[in-house]
C-alpha cells in the first residue's frame, strides 16, 4: 500500500489528537458557559472510528436536530420518536391548526412521563390548553390531570405534591402548567410562593406571549410592538408599548430554585433533555417553553416551529438553563438572522411593514431597530453567539447541542 500524505481533513485532525472543544459548565465569562459545538475537523479521541470496532461515531445524517434518528441507539432517541410514547395529550383535542402549545405540552409531558416512568400528575391552569383539552364530555389527557383555576396552578400543584409526600408516594411527580397569562400575570403570586418554598413541582409556562384563550389580549409576556386586542396597531406607537418586560426565567432564578430553563418547540432534543434534567431534581423547577400561536400571532399554522426557531436564532428568545440562580448552559445561535426575518411572517407585526410592499423595507425601521436591540442585548447578555475565529468554523456538525453523548456504538 502506498503511504498517503496527510494534507488536512478529518483523518489528519483525528490523528493529531486535537482536543475536543467542549468546555466545562461555568467556565464562561458572563456566568454563561457554553456547550460548544464540536467540529468534525477537531474531533477528539472519541471521534469517528470504525463502527465495527464499537467505537463511537460522532456524526449523523441529520445530527440531532430532527425528532428521530434511526442511527442512534434506541436508548438515546427522543421520546417523541418512540412509537409507544405516552401521547399525554391525545388526538381529538380542539386546539387550532398548528397549535404550538398543544405540541409543547405533549413534548414536555411525554418527556416527563418517560423520566418518571409514567408516575406523574399534571395540574393545569385555565387557558387554551385546558379548554381545548377537556371540554365535557371528552378529555385528551392520558395522565392524571387536574384543572382548578387560572391563577392558582402553582399552589394546587404544591398541594398535590404535599399530599403525595404525606401519603408516602414520593415517586409520583407533579407538573404544573399554565400559559404566560397564568404564569407571568395572574399566577405569579402563587408561583413565587411555590418557588420560595421550593415545593417539589416542575412548573411549565407555555409562553405564547398573550392571552389567547380570551381572544389575544396583552399579557406581561407580550413583546414590544406586537399587536393584541388590547394593544391595537393604531396610533403613533402601534402595538404593545416598549416596557420594562417581565423576564420570568430570571425572576425564577432570583428565587435561587434548583433549576430554571428556557426552551422552544423548535428544539425537541434540548427540550426533552431539560425536562429530563428537571425530573432528576427535587424541589421547585421552572421551564419556560416558547410556543408560537398561529391565531394570536397572525401566522401560518405551518410556520409554528419555524417561528420558534427564528425567535431563538434572532436572539429574541434566549435559550439557556440555570441551576441555583446561576446560568449553567446557553444554546447558542446556530444560524443568526436579523429580527426582521422573524417579524415579517407574523400578522401581529404587520404594521411594521408596508402593506403595499410587505416584502420591502420596514415601514417603521426605528421600531424594528429597537426590537433588534433587544435581540442584540440578549445575545450579549447570554453569550448567544460564539466567539469569532473559534475552532468551530461556521456551524459545527457532529456534536449534540443537547449535550447527550453523541455515539452510535451499534451503528449497524
Amino acid at each position: 500500500m502506498p503511504e498517503f500524505a496527510t494534507d488536512g481533513g478529518p483523518t489528519a485532525a483525528r490523528e493529531s489528537g486535537s482536543p475536543g472543544s467542549v468546555e466545562p459548565p461555568g467556565s464562561g465569562g458572563a456566568g454563561a458557559a457554553v456547550r460548544s459545538e464540536d467540529p468534525p475537523g477537531s474531533r477528539d479521541a472519541t471521534g469517528p472510528a470504525s463502527p465495527s470496532s464499537g467505537q463511537p461515531v460522532k456524526f449523523y445524517q441529520v445530527g440531532s436536530f430532527a425528532v428521530g434518528n434511526r442511527l442512534l441507539d434506541p436508548s438515546y432517541r427522543t421520546v417523541q420518536s418512540d412509537a409507544l410514547r405516552t401521547n399525554a395529550l391525545d388526538s381529538g383535542h380542539r386546539a387550532c391548526q398548528g397549535c404550538g402549545e398543544a405540541l409543547g405540552a405533549r413534548y414536555a409531558l411525554d418527556a416527563a412521563m418517560r423520566a418518571t416512568g409514567g408516575s406523574m400528575v399534571a395540574v393545569n391552569a385555565t387557558g387554551c390548553l385546558e379548554v381545548f383539552s377537556t371540554p365535557y364530555p371528552e378529555s385528551s389527557w392520558r395522565i392524571p390531570w387536574l384543572h382548578s383555576l387560572f391563577g392558582n396552578t402553582p399552589a394546587v400543584a404544591t398541594g398535590v405534591a404535599a399530599a403525595l409526600r404525606v401519603k408516602g408516594r414520593p415517586e409520583v411527580r407533579v407538573v404544573g402548567q399554565a400559559g404566560d397569562g397564568g404564569t407571568v400575570d395572574i399566577g405569579f403570586g402563587c408561583l413565587s410562593g411555590m418557588f420560595e418554598r421550593n415545593d417539589d413541582v416542575l412548573f411549565i409556562c407555555y409562553d405564547n406571549e398573550a392571552y389567547m384563550n380570551t381572544g389575544v389580549q396583552r399579557s406581561a409576556a407580550t413583546p414590544p410592538a406586537a399587536r393584541t386586542a388590547t394593544t391595537e396597531a393604531v396610533g403613533d406607537e402601534p402595538g404593545n408599548p416598549f416596557g420594562q418586560g417581565k423576564n420570568l426565567p430570571v425572576l425564577a432564578m432570583a428565587h435561587d430554585i434548583p433549576y430554571v430553563a428556557t426552551a422552544t418547540v423548535a428544539d425537541l432534543h434540548d427540550l426533552e433533555r431539560k425536562v429530563e434534567r428537571a425530573m432528576e431534581i427535587r424541589g421547585a423547577r421552572y421551564l419556560h417553553l416558547f410556543v408560537p400561536c398561529p391565531l394570536g400571532w397572525g401566522a401560518a399554522p405551518r410556520d409554528t416551529i419555524r417561528l420558534a426557531r427564528l425567535a431563538k436564532e434572532t436572539g429574541l428568545f434566549p435559550v439557556f438553563e440555570a441551576e441555583h440562580g446561576v446560568v449553567t448552559a446557553v444554546s447558542q445561535i446556530r444560524r443568526q438572522v436579523p429580527v426582521e426575518e422573524y417579524l415579517r411572517p407574523q400578522g401581529r407585526y404587520r404594521h411594521l411593514f408596508d402593506p403595499a410592499d410587505p416584502d420591502g423595507p420596514p415601514a417603521r425601521p426605528e421600531t424594528v431597530r429597537r426590537i433588534q436591540e433587544i435581540a442584540d442585548r440578549n445575545i450579549a447578555r447570554y453569550g448567544l453567539v460564539g466567539p469569532a475565529g473559534s475552532d468551530a468554523p461556521g456551524e459545527a456538525g457532529p456534536s449534540d447541542p443537547s449535550g447527550r453523548p453523541y455515539e452510535t456504538g451499534e451503528a449497524r
Binding site: 478529518p10 467505537q55 445524517q61 401521547n87 381529538g92 444560524r335
Partner: protein
C-alpha cells in the same frame, strides 16, 4: 370509583372527536427525485445506496448500487461525478463525496469478495455484445441479470476498452478493473477477447444472435493536420495511453508537449511526467476556465509539475521544437490568431484533440444510419437495423432522445443499462416501459435546519515525489469511519429517511409510525391539515394537497 358527573372525564376520551373534519388541505407523502440521481448518467439511485451506507450496511449499499452500475470500484475512481455537481448539499456547505463512497463500496466488495447475484431463470435468448468497454460490460451485465445468454466479443487482448486502454493506472489500478470485470463475467457471460468483429452485418446473419449491442467506443485519435517536419515526433494521446498497457512503454524524450485541453490531454501529460519527461507542457488555444478538462485533473497536473500554455496553438512541429502562435479571445470567447510566434523545445508532441470511432464494422449493416462519424439510434438505443442496438462513444448522443451528454464512461454505463432494458423488452416483443421520473427535489424543497453542518471528508493523496515517478494510485480511498461520516452527509433529498420529524411535530398526533423501513402514514381522522409536517420535513417528502370536494 364513581366519578363526579361531567367534571371528571376519562383519559383519552377525546379520540371520539374526529378533528380530521377541520381540514381543507391534506398532507401526502411523496418521493421526489434527488438531484444526484437525476444527474447520474448511469442512472444510479445514489440516495438509496447512501441511505443503506449510513448505518454501516455496506454490503446492502453495494448491492443497491450494483443494481444500476456494476463497476463501482472503477467508476468511484474515474467518474467525473455530475451527481456531486448537482448535489444540494453544495448549497449548504460542500457536496457529498459520492464518488469516494462509491469507490469505498466497490473496494469493500472486492476486499470481501461480494459476488453478484446469480441470474434468474434462463430466457434462452442469445445476445451478442460487441466491445467490452463500460457500455458493453454494463449492457452484458444487465442482460445477464434479465436471464439472457450473453457473449462479449472484444477485439483487444484484454477486456475493458477505454477503461484499460485510455485511463492511466494511477487513476485506475488495473487489479481493480480486473476484479470488477471478472465479477461481471462470473455471472455467466462468455467473454471472447482478441476477436474483432470486422463486419457486423455478416456476423448477424451468420450467427444465431437474437439481438446485438455494439459499443466499440472512439479509439482513434483525431488528426489536426498540423504542419510538421519529417523528423518531428508526433504521437496521438490514444496511442500513448494504449501503449502503456504494452510490455514496453513508449519513448517520449525529456521534453513533451501535449496539444489539447481535454481530460485525455492531461492524462497524456501526467503519464509523460511519470515516464520521465522533466518538461511537460500542455498547449491549449483558449484559457484555463474554458478548458474542457475537469478542474481536478488540471489541478493534479499542475501539482505534478505539468506546465500550461494557454492561448496558444501549434503552428508547426519540427524535430526537437515546435512553433507556437499566441491567440486572443474574441468577444464570443473564440480564440483568434495574433500572428505572434514563439518557439518551444519539445522532443515529442502528443496530440489530444479528440477521438473518433472506427465504424467500419457497421458500415454494411442494412438500415444503419451514420452521420458525422457517429451512429444514430432511437430513444431505445436501437439502430436503424432491428435488433441491433448501439451505445457508448460511437453513437450520436442527441439521437438518444436525451440532452447531449459528455462522452464519458459513466454515460456509457448508462447506455449499457438502457440498451439492456430495451433489448429485454424488444426480445419480449414489448415496448420498453418508461421509467417514471419524479419531480426533482430541489434545494428549496429542503428544510436544511435539521442537517448538522459537516465539512466534507477529504480523501488522502499520494505524496508528490511518487506522483511524478510512479503509476501508483494518486487518490486514496476513504476508510470505514470516514466513509460512514461522508455517507451521513447525504440530505436524502426528496426521499423519506425516517427522521421521525413528521411523527414528532404533529400537534394532533395524526402521524402513525409504521416501523423501520415502513415509513409513516397520516391518520386523516385527526389530521387538521396545519402543514407543520410539510414545513418541517427536512427532505421535502411531504406535500399539501387540497381536499377534494
Amino acid at each position: 370509583m364513581e366519578e363526579p358527573f361531567a367534571i371528571t372525564l376519562d383519559p383519552g376520551s377525546s379520540r371520539a372527536n374526529r378533528t380530521g373534519s377541520w381540514r381543507v388541505e391534506r398532507p401526502v407523502y411523496v418521493d421526489r427525485l434527488p438531484p444526484c440521481n437525476d444527474a447520474c448518467p448511469a442512472g444510479e439511485n445514489i440516495q438509496r445506496w447512501l441511505y443503506a451506507a449510513e448505518d454501516g450496511s455496506y454490503e446492502a449499499a453495494w448491492r443497491s448500487l450494483v443494481e444500476d452500475s456494476p463497476l463501482p470500484a472503477v467508476m468511484g475512481r474515474i467518474c467525473y461525478h455530475p451527481c456531486e455537481t448537482a448535489c444540494n448539499r453544495a448549497q449548504l456547505d460542500e457536496t457529498v463525496g459520492i464518488h469516494g463512497l462509491e469507490r469505498f463500496l466497490g473496494d469493500q466488495a472486492i476486499e470481501h469478495g461480494w459476488g453478484l447475484a446469480a441470474p434468474p431463470a434462463d430466457s434462452g435468448r442469445q445476445v451478442l455484445v460487441v466491445g467490452s468497454g463500460p457500455a458493453g460490460l454494463s449492457a452484458a451485465y444487465h442482460l445477464r441479470r434479465a436471464g439472457h445468454r450473453v457473449t462479449i466479443r472484444e477485439s483487444a487482448d484484454r477486456p475493458g476498452g477505454m477503461l484499460r486502454y485510455g485511463i492511466p493506472a494511477y487513476r485506475l489500478p488495473r487489479p481493480v478493473l480486473d476484479a470488477e470485470i471478472d465479477r461481471i463475467v462470473a455471472t455467466g457471460i462468455t467473454l471472447e477477447c482478441g476477436q474483432p468483429v470486422a463486419d457486423l452485418a455478416e456476423t448477424m446473419t451468420s450467427e444465431p444472435w437474437d439481438a446485438v449491442f455494439v459499443a466499440v467506443g472512439a479509439q482513434r485519435g483525431r488528426d489536426a493536420g498540423i504542419p510538421a517536419g519529417d523528423s518531428a515526433r508526433i504521437l496521438d494521446a490514444v496511442t500513448l495511453l494504449r501503449g502503456m498497457e504494452d510490455q514496453a512503454p513508449p519513448m517520449l524524450g525529456r521534453r513533451v508537449a501535449v496539444y489539447g485541453g481535454g481530460n485525455t490531454a492531461l492524462d497524456a501529460a501526467r503519464t509523460a511526467r511519470r515516464l520521465g519527461a522533466t518538461d511537460t507542457v500542455v498547449i491549449y488555444r483558449r484559457t484555463r476556465d474554458r478548458m474542457p478538462a475537469h478542474e481536478s485533473e488540471v489541478e493534479d497536473a499542475l501539482d505534478e509539475g505539468v506546465r500550461m500554455r494557454w492561448l496558444s496553438t501549434i503552428a508547426r512541429v519540427e524535430q526537437g521544437s515546435l512553433l507556437l502562435e499566441r491567440m486572443v479571445l474574441d468577444e464570443h470567447g473564440f480564440p483568434q490568431p495574433t500572428g505572434e510566434l514563439e518557439e518551444l523545445g519539445a522532443d515529442t508532441v502528443v496530440l489530444a484533440l479528440g477521438q473518433e470511432s472506427d465504424l467500419s464494422l457497421v458500415e454494411r449493416v442494412p438500415g444503419i444510419e451514420i452521420a458525422d462519424g457517429v451512429v444514430r439510434v432511437g430513444s431505445d438505443l436501437m439502430t436503424g437495423r432491428a435488433g441491433l442496438f448501439a451505445g457508448g462513444d460511437m453513437i450520436d448522443p442527441a439521437s438518444a432522445d436525451r440532452p447531449p451528454e459528455e462522452r464519458t464512461a459513466t454515460v456509457a454505463i448508462g447506455h449499457g443499462k438502457r440498451a439492456a432494458r430495451a433489448i429485454d423488452a424488444w426480445l419480449a416483443g414489448r415496448r420498453p416501459e418508461p421509467v417514471p421520473r419524479h419531480e426533482i427535489a430541489g434545494f428549496d424543497h429542503l428544510n436544511t435546519w435539521y442537517y448538522s453542518d459537516a465539512p466534507p471528508t477529504v480523501q488522502p493523496r499520494l505524496d508528490l515525489a511518487r506522483r511524478q515517478s510512479t503509476f501508483d494510485e494518486v487518490v486514496g480511498g476513504l476508510d470505514e469511519s470516514t466513509a460512514l461520516f461522508e455517507a451521513r452527509r447525504c440530505l436524502s433529498c426528496g426521499n423519506c429517511f425516517e427522521c421521525d420529524n413528521c411523527f414528532g411535530v404533529c400537534p394532533d398526533n395524526a402521524v402513525v409510525k409504521l416501523g423501520p423501513g415502513l415509513r409513516y402514514r397520516f391518520d386523516y381522522d385527526y389530521c387538521k391539515g396545519c402543514g407543520i409536517c410539510v414545513e418541517e420535513c427536512p427532505c421535502g417528502a411531504i406535500v399539501m394537497e387540497p381536499e377534494q370536494v
